[in-house]
Structure formats: structure tokens, C-alpha cells
Symmetry: C2
Subunit: 414 residues, 2 copies
């Protein structure tokens, strides 16, 4: 047997020797980005697939034998058009919808189509780490625009664009999660969206709208998508079935002007999402969507309530603030400036509570005093226990605000 072969000098210049991520879970897992496992309609999915096979098995078998259409199962793309019209009130044709391996593939394909290394891209000040990674991978220079409780602040966005342009770093496009934002939980109201659209038209900046949480609203009024408010082509709209049915499906989609679709799809390297999964989802959604929504919405709300009320109990008086989102999966915890939640993240994980410190979401490096807490995954009971434990752990690991306030102890005694 020849000696071990070395790949020194063989690897491509662009390749990176990064560890392959293995997901690990704390006892109280607020670090994940997933909805509730007990709301997953897995039996329903299987049942729906069986019904479809009984009814239409020969055709499905024949279609499964082919490699899928690059754009994805035509029936499901038709369903997506109906869904977008019903839920988002904008009209597209099945040809203008591309099914992808989760919304992350959709984002990646679009980013590759419109990003040259060195391009400046604006995102929310705190934003989904997966998109930050994709943007960096393709060479984008990311600048975060300031947020308040209503998401992107239009005037601040325009100031930022002007400032960057003056510096010779004119931003190319805006990436945003306007509804139940990841990680802050904020939703941009319609009036702001219209202002942001005007600004983007003024400066010729497309909007990559990541609308993957809109189905997870459990109270308040859904806001119109950027894409609903603007049919000019400036908005590229990405969404997903991962949040509403199950992340493990890896099934998302996007719609955009035809030339954007063609260029984005030219970067696909796999064959797209599983045909099997697409048949199951198509059949399930047509039979059960409304029932499913009415199932999981009260569940999500009770989980948010459990987390927020426990934050009130244990974090009041520490100088901390937190969001109270009307949907999605995340509460955003903001501790007093100077707090370093990045530093104690691993220690808290080891002691039983997982969260993601704001630094993971912060292109401007201003997130150490913040944390994303996913309320959607654990039960209400575990949300309560876990937040109470987190307060203790912050104190144990020397988070100053907790020591000063003594909030944990007094609350624990009450």
C-alpha cells in the first residue's frame, strides 16, 4: 500500500479548511433557529404523500424517475404562486418561481448573481449569521444600518448610503428580513417600507427581501412585503417552507425579474431540492395548510409569552431590554452597553442554557451586549425554567448588570 497521499498544493486557492459543523444542544436550547418540533406535521406529511401516491402514483413515479426540473416541481410552483397571491398579494407566474434547497440556497444564488468581491452591501445592524457568511464568502463588504423596535430606520439608511457614497463606497444592494427579523424579532411597518423603497429607487439599490418568517405571525397585522408594494423588479423576494413545516425539509423559493432568475440559477451546483419532499409538501399544503396554521399559532404565542414574562421577572432592574415579537422565533435581549455576552456564551452553554450572542449577527461589531433567544423551540415550561437559569448563570459568570441589580435573587425569593 503506498504511503498517505498529501493534498498539499492540490487544494484550490478559494478553499478553506474549516471544521464541519456538528449541531450540539444545551439542556435549554435558545440558540437554535427553529420552530416547535411538536408542531411539525410529520405524520400529516406522510399521510398527504400516501394520498397523493394512491391517487396519482403512476404519474408521480414517472416524474420521480426523471431528474427534477431545475426550477422545481411545477405543481408546487403553481401552489407557491397561489400562496404568494393569498398571503402576500402579489402576482407571479410559476415560471418566475424557483424552488431551492431552503431559503439559504436562494439567498446564496442571488448573492452570487449580484455580488463582486469588494462590493458594499447594506444589511440590518444585526442580521442572520448565515447570510453574513454567504455575503462574506462571495467577497461582500457588509455595513449594518441602524435599527429600532420597528426595524430599519429610513432616515438613518439614507444617511448611511450618502456617507458610504461620499467615501467612494457606494452600496450595491440592501439585504433585509422585514418581518419578525432574525435576530431582533422586529417588523418594519408599511409606511417605513414605502420610504425604504423610495430610497432604494433613488440610489438604484435592489432589495433582497428575505421573507421567511411571515407565516409565523401569531398576533397583530401582517405588513405588506416590499415585493407587494413594488412591482418594478427592484425587489428580489425569498421565502421558505422550512419554518412553516420543518427546517429538515430544506425547501425554499425565490422570485425575481427573469434575468436575475437566470443568472442566479446559473450558480446552482446541486440538483435542487428533493422531488420526494416537494411532492409531500405540495400534497400536504393543499390539504392541511389552514388547519396547520391554526394549530401552531397559539403554541408559538404561549412560548413567546412564557419567555417574555420570565424575562420580566428575572431581568427587570438590570438595565436589560428585550423585544416582544408578534411572530417568528426570536426574542432579542439587550443588556447594558459594556456587557460581554459573547465571552460567557460557552460557559452558559456548558451550564445548560444555549443562546447566540449578538456579535454573531453584527457586521458593525457592536453586538457583544446582546443575545438572540429562540422562544419557538422549547416548551413554555422550559422557556420559563431556562430564562430563570440564564439569569442565575449571568450572575454566576460575572455579567455586571446582574451583580449590581441583584434581580435574580430578589426575583427568586418572590
Amino acid at each position: 500500500m503506498p504511503k498517505a497521499f498529501s493534498y498539499e498544493g492540490v487544494f484550490s486557492k478559494g478553499s478553506q479548511d474549516t471544521p464541519i459543523r456538528v449541531v450540539q444542544h444545551a439542556k435549554y436550547d435558545f440558540a437554535v433557529a427553529y420552530p416547535a418540533p411538536e408542531t411539525l406535521p410529520l405524520d400529516g406529511l406522510t399521510e398527504a404523500l400516501k394520498i397523493a401516491l394512491d391517487k396519482n402514483g403512476d404519474e408521480i413515479a414517472r416524474n420521480m424517475a426523471y431528474y427534477p426540473q431545475v426550477a422545481g416541481l411545477p405543481e408546487l410552483r403553481e401552489f407557491v404562486c397561489e400562496k404568494l397571491w393569498q398571503d402576500r398579494q402579489f402576482k407571479v407566474k410559476p415560471d418566475q418561481v424557483m424552488m431551492t434547497s431552503g431559503s439559504s440556497e436562494a439567498n446564496s444564488l442571488v448573492i452570487q448573481a449580484i455580488t463582486n468581491p469588494g462590493d458594499v452591501v447594506i444589511t440590518e445592524e444585526f442580521v442572520y449569521a448565515g447570510t453574513l457568511a454567504q455575503l462574506r464568502k462571495f467577497g461582500a463588504v457588509i455595513v449594518g444600518t441602524p435599527l429600532d423596535a420597528d426595524g430599519i430606520i429610513p432616515a438613518a439608511l439614507e444617511d448611511l448610503i450618502k456617507k458610504l457614497t461620499k467615501e467612494g463606497r457606494k452600496p450595491k444592494y440592501l439585504y433585509t428580513i422585514p418581518e419578525h427579523q432574525n435576530p431582533t424579532g422586529s417588523t418594519i411597518p408599511e409606511a417605513r417600507r414605502r420610504e425604504i423603497l423610495d430610497i432604494c429607487h433613488k440610489y438604484g439599490m435592489p432589495i433582497l427581501e428575505d421573507d421567511c418568517y411571515v407565516d409565523l405571525r401569531f398576533e397583530g397585522k401582517v405588513q405588506p412585503a416590499f415585493r407587494t408594494l413594488d412591482d418594478s423588479g427592484i425587489v428580489i423576494h425569498v421565502a421558505s417552507f422550512s419554518k412553516i413545516i420543518a427546517p429538515g425539509l430544506r425547501l425554499g423559493y425565490f422570485t425575481a425579474p427573469d434575468d436575475v432568475l437566470r443568472r442566479a440559477m446559473s450558480f446552482r451546483s446541486g440538483g435542487g431540492p428533493s422531488q420526494f419532499t416537494m411532492y409531500a409538501v405540495d400534497s400536504y399544503m393543499r390539504l392541511n395548510m389552514d388547519k396547520h396554521k391554526s394549530n401552531f399559532k397559539p403554541m408559538l404565542k404561549s412560548k413567546r409569552d412564557a419567555m417574555v414574562s420570565t424575562l420580566e421577572r428575572y431581568f427587570s432592574g438590570t438595565g436589560a431590554t428585550w423585544s416582544k415579537p408578534q411572530g417568528g422565533c426570536y426574542v432579542w435581549l439587550t443588556m447594558p452597553k459594556g456587557t460581554d455576552l459573547t465571552k460567557v456564551q460557552q460557559a452558559c452553554f456548558d451550564d445548560g442554557v444555549g443562546y447566540i450572542a449578538g456579535s454573531s449577527f453584527a457586521p458593525n461589531n457592536n453586538g457583544d451586549h446582546c443575545a438572540r433567544l429562540c422562544f419557538a423551540f422549547e416548551s413554555p415550561e422550559k422557556n420559563r425554567e431556562g430564562v430563570a437559569l440564564l439569569a442565575k448563570l449571568f450572575e454566576k459568570h460575572g455579567v455586571p448588570a446582574m451583580k449590581k441589580s441583584g434581580a435574580t435573587k430578589s426575583a427568586a425569593r418572590s
Copy 2:
């Protein structure tokens, strides 16, 4: 409403405005690259998924709620290790197996990890067009090495490496489909594989072994994989469930030295294959694999026999030759040099017979007189009808060999 937004100046330099492929089928479809739809175990897959859910639903639901492990479902990776040991007699650990969205994603990830623009890569003289496209996309300069009925000719390969090296174009690696090759149907015998391995070690060239057809052998003796014969790390082994169960699953895998795995996986842009599909396949394979194999093998053989015997009947005397593969999906038809099957491909398609001319598989641009005929997709009856019609169409569209021989007419009269 603002006027239409133009993406001029927004698109990235690497993006290409290429049409999104829509699959179309001729009446007799020998152009596809798929096994038989009637052999697809779709009901079995659904049944297996139901059994798994009944038995273990809570755990599955919890795992579906998470985003999948980047490497893929651990149980299925364990199964792949057992399968590789049983069918290919080499041992790897689950950590060394990465599940991918079809073997095409596996190939793409590896190609990205080991290819710089301008690198010279050797493939078979005729080879899977999807891999050619991936290689080109990442800037490889592809050179084909000569084939005979037993696949790659070792002496010719070494001559080619020497020639390229002398020209200052030292080849970097070898991509090969050693078993039931796509498109030629050839299998490299063990002795040749050992010679090729020696050559690759001598010149420091890794082998990217695409072993995706090995499960589709219906006669003769399976040959050991390159990876079976060599444990030094020089062989990167890619395989797939797409061919044995259903292409629409998009489920493949690869194994390689750890550093190759890490670098390859760093190029993943979607989230990997569907968890739902992986559960279904895992459950199905453990329950039914042997039964399934004994079902589809006789079916594939009868389809090959139908195609080859009809070629004998209608193409004898034209100067044509064709392969008689012991597995896989393809017969390779070679007409006399000077024949242009590329030119008449569309006309034959329009008249009811689909095939892919050899030019699609030929990095050296020497494939116009050849064609790939997929025998695995249509029924034996349609294979016979379609090949008979193809002979007529070649004559109708002025393929010289057919005119000269008059083979079609005499055969049709016999």
C-alpha cells in the same frame, strides 16, 4: 409605480445569463439518464417512512425540527458505511461520509476544493456532461484520455500525462466513472485499475472516482472500486442513491481524507439534502434493499437486451458498433467517422426519438459520430420500437452510413 428597474451594472462578473433548463421528452426517450420508473419503490419508500414514524416518531420529529447536521443524517451515514463495506469492501467511519444533494453536488464540492482556474484535469475521452459543465464552471481545462471497450487505457493515460507535462500543462487530477461509465457503458477491469492507480501515484494525481452506477450491475462480476484498491487517500469516492432508488430524491454522498472533506464542504451553499428524504431512504434501504435489487436487475437486463438486439437487427452492415454494458443505463453507439449525429439530433427528437450525440460528452471534440442511448428508461417494447424508428430517421435525415447500407430497408423486410 416606478419604472422597471434595470440590473445592468448590478450583475456579478461571474454570472451567466443562461436559459433555465426545462426537461422535454421525445416519444422514445433514449436521451435521459435515468433508470426505469416502473422499478421505483415509491410506495415502498412511503411505507418505510410510515413504519419509521410509527416506531420512532418523536425522535424523528425532534430531529426534523433542527436544521440537519451539515454532514447529513447520522443513521444514514452509518448505513452508507455498512453499504460501502458490504458492496465495495472498504471501511470508512460515518464522520468520513458526507451526504449531498445528489452525486452532482458531491462532484461540484470536490471540484471546487481542488480546482484553480486554468488547472488541467483529465477525464475519460467521453464523459458525463454534467461533470464537464462543473469542471468548466470552475475554470478547469479538460483533456480526455482515450478509451476502449474496457474504459481508460493505462498506457495511453501515462502517455497523455507525459505529453501534457512536457507542454508545461501538468494535469492536476483524474475524474473517472469506472463502472458502467456514462456515456459509454464500459467498466474498467481490476488489473487496469491497479495500473491506473500506480500511474496516478507516480505523477501525484488524485482520482475523483464517480461510482454512481455500481449498484446497477445485472450481469458479470463487479470490479473493485479504486477506493477499495487504495487506502492512501489519493482516491475521492463519490456515489449516489439517485440511481438505485430514484433520481428525484437528489441524494448522494462522498468520502475522502478529512482535509478534503472539510475544504469541499466549505463550498456548500444550500443546507444539504432533505432530512425527510434521508429518513425515508434510511428506513427503506434497511428494510428492502436486497428485495429491491432482485426486482430491478432482471428488468434492466431485459431492457438492455431489447435495445442491443434491435441495434443488431437495424444497424448491422452500416459500419456502426455499439457497447453491450453489463449494468448501468447506457449503450454507446459509434457510427463510422464522418457521421454527424449532432446535426440530426434535434430532427430525430422532433420525429420521436431522443438521444444525446457524443459531442456533448467529448472534451476533445471528437464525438459527433457517437450517441448515448439510455436503455434503462423506456420499456423493452419501446426500446425495440424506438431503435427501429431511429434507424429510419437516420436514413430520412441523411446519415450516410444508413443510406449506403440500406440496412434499415432490408431489415424491415426480413
